[in-house]
């Protein structure tokens, strides 16, 4: 009996010594989620193809050589000229995506970066300058490509081979 007790005690001690050593710790992780929206430009099937930046928010668009009466590049349209000006227009797609937001739609506006005292710029018929924005849409649908007509009205007095260049800033605001 005594032997059994000794063996049992020894077994208990060995088990105790052999028990796996463990250590614990806890990491408290915090994050604050913010709703966000994102805007990208895409080629429009009926418009001038973007020179660069398709699918990004910094694209380049080249109307090419335009004139009041001559042939226009593919994707560029021209309403009937007035007595003093002509307008060229092309659609470009804008897609705005939203995350973590209950907003139903967005407002899209455009504004020139630098002043243009000669030509008139417009998005979806809404004129804009460097001082004031034009509204392309007040109810833009999220998650889909929305065609936006970008137009430039040029006076007949513009000299031949004049290059017109400006940066149009588009801003989408969640409604």
């Amino acid at each position: 009996m005594r032997k059994l007790l000794v063996i049992f005690a020894a077994a208990v001690m060995i088990t105790s010594l052999a028990a796996a050593q463990t250590a614990t710790g806890n990491l408290t992780v915090t994050a604050t989620v913010a709703g966000s929206i994102n805007l990208v430009f895409n080629n429009d099937a009926n418009g001038v193809q973007l020179t660069s930046g398709d699918g990004t928010n910094a694209a380049s668009l080249n109307f090419g050589t335009v004139s009041a009466f001559g042939t226009l590049p593919t994707g560029v349209s021209r309403p009937t000229p007035t007595a003093t000006t002509f307008t060229v227009s092309t659609p470009v797609d804008v897609q705005v995506n939203k995350t973590n937001s209950a907003s139903a739609n967005y407002t899209l506006v455009a504004q020139l970066t630098t002043a243009d005292a000669t030509n008139t710029w417009a998005v979806n018929g809404s004129a804009f300058t460097n001082a004031s924005a034009g509204t392309a849409t007040a109810t833009g649908a999220y998650g889909s490509k929305v065609p936006v007509a970008l137009a430039i009205t040029i006076p007949f007095t513009t000299a031949d081979s004049t290059v017109i260049s400006n940066v149009v800033n588009f801003t989408a605001t969640a409604n």
Binding site: A23, N100, A102
Partner: protein
Amino acid sequence: MKNRLTIRMLMATGLLLFGLPLFAQKPTATGTINAQLVNKNGIALVFDSDPGGVTLGSAGTSAATLNFGTISAFGPLSTGVTRTSLTAANFTVRTIFDVQVIQGGLTSTTYTLRAQLASVLPTGFSFKIDGVTLANGNTNIQTNGAYNVDVSHNLDLTVSTAAPGAGGPAVGTALTTVINFQASAN
């Protein structure tokens, strides 16, 4: 007369007895202590900030905090946080933290690191460590961790892009989750 003699003798004896120590050497005492200690083996786990990740609160302890800051699918992220994926359904942000398991007195050369969520996750959240999805039960993260060095781990937080109330997380408020870690000597 006899009394006087007795008094003189007593005084002489007293002077002899109490005066001797004044001329003796400084007293010394010695002793020995038989000290004994039992070197208890064990391991400990601490969290450390990783140079590539966010700075932990209470780094160097076993109860640290990690704040991703404000995260979003498209917006800027805090230093040490990267966006590793973005789909229509969700986005994932990542940071790196270090775990150091210190051992003493063990013959073990490696450890197994497990982790589990302390509670149910906020709506629209899921966590992975080193690609392993965390749950409310212990999950192996690493089975051959090296002792006494910082071992970096990727912490991925995947967030639903759905709107609040439609399966997405609450917006604009800090959402907190506790992850419990356990290191076991192999």
